[in-house]
Every structure is written in C-alpha cells, then in structure tokens.
Subunit: 310 residues, 2 copies
DNA sequence: TATTATTCATGCAATAAAGGTATTTATGAT
DNA sequence: ATCATAAATACCTTTATTGCATGAATAATA
C-alpha cells in the first residue's frame, strides 16, 4: 500500500522539479528524498520522473499521479478535523422513530428547534409503532424514539414529552355529534370501536379497555389500525368511533367531530426513549433540546392556565 | 498527516471489534496494534473506540472514520494500477492542434482509428493556424499538430500526412466557372484573390505567390482569411477567387465551383509534428496510428491508380 | 463468592525504516 | 577542456515499529 508520506515527497519534487529544493522544502536532505522517490516508483511500477543528472521532468504517469496525490493529500489533511467534528456533535447523523400521533403535537417544533441548533446533523425519521421502536432501539437501528409509555426496559432511558387526555372521535352523522357539551363515556357503549391493535401499543389498548369497563361496558372492536390518520379515516367513513389523543383535534378532518368526555380519561404519555449506553453526542444534544422544549411548553401551559383564571 | 497504514489497522479493529483477532488478520501481534490505535486517536484528537477491558465498540467519530478510511484505502489501493495504466498509454490525455484544411481530408479517419485502438485516451482538439501550432508545440501546450510544411525547428519530429495539388475555387457566376476543362493559371490573372495571410502559413503563401509569378502575373489580394471555410465563403460571396487544396472539393459549398489547373501547382504538404523530446506513450501511439494510416492511404491510392490504368 | 479465562494495556529488547553526511557520477555551460 | 551543478550511491545514526513477556480488569463459571 502506498504511503502518504511518500506521496507528499513526490508532490514536492513534482512541483519544484528539483530534488535539492524539494528536500529543503520538506526540511530534509536530498539523498533520502531521492531514495524515497525511487522506492515510490518501484512500488507503483511506473517511472514518474524523466531525469538527467541535470534536469527533472514529469512523465505522463507522473503528471497523473501529481493530480491524484494532491487530491488524496487534501482529503487526508481534513480527515482529522472532520472526525473531530463528528465527535463534538457538530456533524453527524441521528435516526429517530416516532408514532404517528406526535405528527400533530410535539414533533414539528422539536425537529425545527434541533435543526436550528445543530444544522450539521442529518436527521432520519421513521414512523414506527411503539413496539417496533422498542426493538429498533435495542438493535441500535434508531437512536431515539417517541413512543407511548410504558417502557419497561432498563437499558433504555426515557423523558416524558407529553401527557394528553383522550377525546372521542365520532362520524359527523352520529347522533352524539350533535350535542354541544362533553359526552358521557357510557353514551358510546353500543358503538363499534376503531382501535390500535394491542400488539402495537399494549399500554394504550389496555387503558382504553379499562376505561370503558369503568364506564360500564366492554367496547365492541370493529376495526384495528396502526396509524392515527387511518383511525380517523375509518371514523370519518362511519365504521365506528374512537378514543384518540386530544391533539388530534388539530387534524380537522372532514366527516369527523371530536367531543371531550365528562369522565377523566386515562392520561396518554408520550415518551422520548433512547439506549442509556448510547454515548452519541448528537443524541445527547437531541435529548437536551427535547428536555428544554418540554420545560418551555410546560411553562407556557402554566402561564396560559394562570391568565385564563384571572 | 495521518498514515494509511494506521488507517488499515483501524479498519481491521473497527470491523472485528476485537484487537486480538484484528491483529491476527493483520499478521501482527496484539500489543503494537493497541498502541497504533492509541496513536491514531492522539493524532486525530478524537476517541474512536469505547473500550472496556472486555468489549470494544465504535464511537460516532469512529463510525465516521471507518467510512472515510475505507474510501481512502480503496482509492489508494487502485492508485498504482491507475498510474501504470497512464504509463502504458491505456489511459491518458492527448491535445492535438490541426489546421482547418485537414477537417476535410485526413483528420476524421485518423481520429476514429486512434479512438478505436485507444478508447481510454481523452482527446482534446484545437483548430490552430500552422504558426501558432509551432509555438504551442514548443511550449508543450499541444502534444502534436497537423500543419503545413515547412517545419524548420530541430526540436520537432515530423511525419508527412498528405500531399495535395492546389485547385482554383471560383464563384459559380464567374465566366471561368462555365468551362468544363482544366483552367490555365493565367486565366486568373485579373481576378481578385482570397488568400491565407502570410503570417499564418508563410510556406503556402509564398508558394502561391511564386506559382502566380511563374504564370506571368502578381495576384491582387482582395481579402485574407485564416480558415478554409471562411476562404470558401468569401469566394461564394463573389469577393474573389482562391487557390485551395484539392480535398476542399469534398466540401461542396453552394455558389462555389472548383477547377483543376493545367499547370502543375506546387505540392501542399500537411505534416504531423511533435516535440521529439516528448515521451508520452499516448503520443507515440498516435504517431504510430498516423504512420500506418498514411501507409494504408498511400497503398490504397497506388492500388486505385493501378486499377485505373488497367 | 472465589476462580478462571479472556482481553486490552504497558515495559523492554530486537528489528526495520528513514534520515544525515560524505562522496561519486554525469551533464550542461563557460 | 574545465567547472559548476545536481542527482545517485555508500555508509552510518536515529527513529519508529514490532514481538514477547507481563500486568490489570472484567465477565463468566464453579
């Protein structure tokens, strides 16, 4: 394998076309330089200089190598800096998983805050259900995930991002859609339900079933879907009702109306989760951004609540 | 400057994540490998591996360096081969000068023959007058030139490519254009002439003036032009007559007719010229192609002449 | 819980590579 | 023909790299 040091020597000689002066530029004496060039020519198997005792000129092969060597040396020159930049988190790559529900709440703000603070980092986003995210986190295929609690894996660290109540999503032609006030849960007793499959988010599924049981009925499950958008679509098509996070109200889809519930619905918690052992600088920065973003949102919400009371 | 050998060591460790096995793959013992990696980390100024005594894993910086190092090593790996390819003339670059007249005779065939035999060579073509070509050859800005004799420079080697008679180019509405037979030179005595400037090709200019003088007149020069196409255009526009190489007949331009001359016109010689000191393999191959192309053409012409006699 | 095997790091001697000085050889210029 | 210049060679010194023996830490095992 060709040695970069020899290439540097070669470039000096090729540029000055004079072994003595090139040696001076390299802070060495002329004889070892001559030998290094000879050795390089042996290694490559091509004559790089046409030399008389008096004059030195490049062969075609030498001219080609000069171009290539300059390019490679410039590349090697910056390699250390580029690598340090990755270590400091100035550049890098971050792969994030998220559930479809956060599309309409925290995801956009969080991403734009992170991107603004760390423009050199390439973000890769993958919409995945909570269970898949847990597996992908474990295998290191995503650096962090936004998913539904609970997370029972001790290898993962978590940060709560969002707590939301559930609201009822109803087809607009449902009789219940006409009422202007909060709904009683028991009113939904007879309706078919559209729901997340248990495999995708056991916590949410169990919470909904438990909630209904407390309301005095067991929901009849008409349809399952693993994306919030799909669930809302199915509701709008009249296939059933659904209990969905309150932030979905911002989605405003034709044919669907949302109604708050009179009973305190279970709190849906969205967590940021990551492998505790993952020491990536980009990840640490992302977690920090998320943490301060949560603080800011919480503070904002408290302030809004205070002003509403006055 | 980072050493490629160390990068190779690093790639081995990064791929196997095991110093002992990596050392085995590199046919060395483990301790020096550990030290080389430490030294690489010091040189770069970044931690590349997160090591316990028991486990080794890549940091983000290490993962980045692994990609970059693989790329650089692959590049270095092929460098010798690519350079040898240039030496053998398998790849390379050849810059050629040519006068506009050869556009219609030998240039197309010569180029296609060379390209077929040496597809890896990039050809650069520059249409230049003979005098400029001589200067550019001297300065090494073109590797070879197709130009008009004579070439008096002892530093240049030459190969005759083509010998041609001159023919008269006349505007089609000229009275002489109606005659179906060869013209007598003296018939052109009164006509205005379109001619190459003497500075661009002294040999051709002087030959034409001398030829006319032998015919008993001094040509009146109405217009000068340095491209054959331009000369023929000016003739077609009726600005004068011209003496041009016979191969220009193939150009068949509207408004121009060509007539042979009864007198033996001077022979116009197109030469291939190159710096004798130029040892470029591509050039040598080009000269060889030209030489055999000339032989073939001459043989063909002789054969044609022989068959015409029979 | 103590032991053992594994594996990365360190100390030191041996070896290989690179560099320096003195000298030779060839060549273009005077 | 002689001289000055510049690349190559000879020979020795210095530096860098490697291998072997060993130390230290950790995870698995008895």
């Amino acid at each position: 394998m060709i040695d970069l040091r020899r290439l540097r020597y070669f470039v000096a000689v090729a540029e000055l076309l004079h072994f003595g002066r090139a040696a001076a530029r390299l802070h060495m004496s002329q004889p070892p330089l001559s030998r290094q060039i000879q050795q390089l020519e042996r290694e490559i198997g091509a004559v790089l200089f046409r030399r008389s005792k008096r004059r030195v000129e490049l062969t075609d092969a030498g001219a080609y190598l000069l171009d290539e060597a300059r390019r490679m040396l410039a590349d090697a020159e910056t390699l250390a800096v580029r690598t340090r930049r990755v270590e400091s988190g100035e550049t890098g790559r971050l792969t994030l998983g998220f559930i479809s529900a956060v599309d309409y709440s925290i995801l956009p703000g969080l991403l734009s805050a992170y991107r603004a603070a760390h423009p050199g980092v390439t973000l890769e986003l993958r919409e995945l259900t909570s269970d898949i995210q847990l597996r992908e986190l474990h295998e290191g295929r995503i650096d962090a995930g936004m998913l539904l609690s609970p997370v029972d894996d001790t290898a993962l660290a978590t940060l709560p991002l969002l707590r939301e109540r559930l609201v009822a999503a109803l087809p607009e032609d449902d009789a219940l859609a006409r009422s202007r006030t909060a709904l009683s849960l028991s009113a939904l007793a007879g309706r078919p339900f559209v729901i997340f499959p248990r495999s995708a988010a056991a916590g949410l599924y169990d919470a909904i079933i438990e909630f209904c049981r407390n309301g005095g009925f067991a929901p009849r499950i008409a349809q399952e879907a693993i994306q919030m958008q799909t669930i809302v679509s199915l509701v709008s098509a009249g296939l059933g009702v659904a209990l969905v996070p309150a932030s979905l109200r911002d989605m405003r889809r034709r044919g669907v109306v949302y109604r708050s519930l009179r009973e305190d619905s279970p709190l849906l918690t969205v967590l940021l989760a990551w492998r505790a052992a993952n020491r990536s600088a980009c990840l640490a920065q992302f977690v920090a951004t998320a943490r301060s973003s949560v603080r800011r949102t919480a503070a904002g919400r408290r302030a809004a609540a205070a002003s509403a009371m006055s």
